[in-house]
């Protein structure tokens, strides 16, 4: 579905390359997880895929089509974004989700847009929130609304930047299980970044280790090894297997 080749990006003309030849491939309905230190280029890669900024060179193709030549609206109907810092403005939950349809209706929402929003609110059990002011909700609830808004775009791929960044454990689980559910039920691919490696292992189908603007390793859960983690994060971990499941534990420094 998504094929990125040799992508380069820098923020200013003489600045350092933040993306330094990224190659990445994600199949239909797959959950891909970017793993890397802060500043390794994950958010920059997301923003480049979403067309928020233009790369210096390289190609991004979506189902064979050149994403860099696609207009904004066309792109918005294929790829949706749940940003790291979420703010909406004082709108109702219903209108916030309806906003996700703006690439379809442009000026005035029609019946089919409203139907789509109502279906999403029902599906995500958010009906009771419809009339509430989105600014009055908690972090977890807002995160959920942001997912609902992204789904309103009827995308094939959801780009999800640090979904659990500011959440408590209950909300973390809620958001991750919701993300997995929509991916599986609706066949939507997800590209996300997570700091918690155990959560990543639980959620992901495919893992991309990112260092200094490059993907240095990618593959299934089998590539998540102590060595790869050490090379990417400069952190020692120990991996144990319990009932066939990999668990990553702090293996080096004492806390």
């Amino acid at each position: 579905m998504l094929a990125i080749e040799n992508l380069h990006f820098r923020y200013s003309r003489r600045g350092p390359l933040v993306l330094n030849g990224v190659d990445l491939e994600l199949k239909d309905g797959e959950i891909g997880i970017l793993l890397g230190k802060n500043g390794s280029g994950k958010t920059t890669l997301f923003k480049t895929i979403l067309g928020i900024q233009r790369p210096e060179s390289g190609s991004i193709r979506f189902d064979g089509e050149d994403l860099l030549k696609m207009n904004r609206r066309e792109r918005a109907r294929r790829i949706a974004y749940v940003p790291q810092a979420i703010h909406f403005g004082a709108l109702s939950v219903y209108d916030t989700v309806l906003m996700g349809r703006v690439s379809y209706f442009g000026y005035k929402a029609g019946r089919e847009d409203e139907d789509a929003v109502e279906a999403i609110l029902r599906d995500m059990k958010l009906e009771d929130y419809a009339a509430r002011n989105v600014e009055e909700l908690s972090g977890g609830e807002r995160q959920k609304i942001a997912i609902a808004r992204a789904l309103a775009q009827e995308p094939r791929l959801l780009v999800f930047d640090e979904p659990t960044g500011n959440l408590d454990i209950a909300n973390e689980q809620l958001i991750l299980s919701e993300a997995r559910r929509v991916a599986r039920e609706k066949g939507i691919g997800i590209l996300t970044s997570l700091h918690d490696l155990n959560q990543a292992l639980e959620l992901g189908d495919r893992f991309f280790f990112m260092k200094e603007g490059k993907i240095c390793q990618d593959g299934g859960a089998e590539i998540v090894t102590e060595n790869v983690i050490f090379e990417t994060f400069d952190a020692e971990v120990r991996i144990v297997e319990i009932e066939g499941k990999k668990i990553i534990m702090n293996g080096g420094q004492k806390i």
């Binding site: 918005a76 909406f88 004082a90 009906e127 009339a131 002011n133 009055e136």
Partner: protein
């Protein structure tokens, strides 16, 4: 379903609020027609309105008060929506028509016209009658408009060179605005006493300068802006979520910001050029509206326009009733009337909306 009824109730509340504001504008417009320094009775006013009073009374109503009331409605709406759009565009609650130095540039243009050209391009004489009126009555307004438009284009052009970041626009606006203010000060330093006082009086906003022709020009510009902004309500709503989110939803953020900033600035420039500086409307009205009705631009654009008209109508009526024969500067009254109300809203419990 309960949530459906809640939603409908919200929508009905918003529609009701807009209707109520529109009604208030109508009522106030009539009240304004009947208040003035000529001490006409209510019956006289009605008669004059029907063109049945004395010739003087008919002239007062039709040639002085009606253009003035129309100017209050149009300019109030224009200044208020300009403020609202700039606040959304720049993601800055303090943004207003003066943020881009629009007003400062207009003041400089007007001062240049009044002080250097004695109000008209063709007349360089130093006699009082030519000041502000000048050889060409539109010269001062035209100069004010030209300089404010040039200032906007300069700032927006500069910002387009680099990424159109809201913070950069605000800083560029402040910098360019201060250049105009400095230039005005130097100009005023060399002015004659008469020229200086004429220039200062020009900067006091005065709705009395309005004529049917200026009202028409302002109405066309404000109406075009209003329709355009209402049409793009959803795009502005998306902009509330930040540039990255808006772009990912398919909004052409840079283009939207450039065009709407330009249009909002032109609306301000036209109003200010004809009427002088009327401050604070662009800050007070959008904020009060957003606090009370939320930030949905489908509601806040028309509601801000109407509340701007209301504030200016009230301020103009007050300025004419308090001035003891001559109207006080309406720009000062808008702040005097609006600021306490503004503070009350900010510090009230309903302060959750941004």
């Amino acid at each position: 379903m309960r949530e459906q009824t809640d939603l409908r109730k919200n929508r009905r509340k918003n529609t009701a609020a807009i209707c109520l504001l529109a009604l208030a504008v109508l009522v106030l417009a009539f009240v304004c027609l009947f208040v003035g320094s000529s001490h006409m009775s209510l019956a006289d006013c009605f008669a004059a309105l029907m063109k049945r009073g004395t010739a003087a009374q008919v002239r007062i109503i039709w040639n002085i008060r009606i253009p003035r009331v129309l100017a209050a409605i149009i300019a109030g709406a224009g200044l208020s929506i300009s403020g609202l759009i700039m606040q959304t565009d720049l993601n800055n609650p303090m943004a207003s028509p003066s943020t881009l130095g629009v007003s400062n540039a207009a003041v400089f243009g007007a001062n240049l016209s009044i002080i250097a050209f004695a109000g008209g391009f063709l007349d360089t004489g130093n006699h009082l009658s030519s000041y502000t009126v000048g050889a060409n009555p539109y010269a001062t307004s035209l100069m004010a408009f030209l300089f404010s438009t040039a200032s906007i284009l300069l700032i927006l052009g500069l910002c387009r060179l680099r990424a159109f970041q809201p913070g950069v626009v605000v800083l560029a606006g402040i910098a360019i605005g201060s250049v105009w203010t400095a230039a005005t000060t130097i100009l005023q330093f060399y002015a004659t006493d008469v020229g200086l006082s004429a220039a200062v009086i020009w900067t006091f906003g005065d709705l009395g300068r309005a004529t049917y022709r200026t009202d028409l020009i302002m109405a066309v510009v404000v109406l075009v802006g209003l329709v355009f902004f209402v049409f793009l309500s959803w795009q502005f709503n998306a902009l509330l979520s930040g540039d990255a989110a808006a772009k990912s939803m398919g909004v052409a953020v840079d283009r939207l910001r450039f065009i709407s900033m330009l249009l909002a600035s032109i609306i301000t420039a036209v109003c200010v050029s004809f009427l002088g500086i009327i401050g604070f409307v662009g800050i007070i009205c959008p904020h009060v509206t957003k606090r009370l009705l939320g930030q949905d631009h489908r509601v806040s654009i028309p509601a801000s326009a109407l509340s701007g008209s209301i504030l200016l109508l009230l301020a103009d009526t007050a300025s004419r009733s308090l001035g003891n024969g001559s109207a006080l500067p309406v720009g000062a009254i808008t702040s005097l009337l609006g600021a306490p109300f503004f503070l009350a809203i900010i510090f009230s419990r309903k302060g959750e909306h941004g």
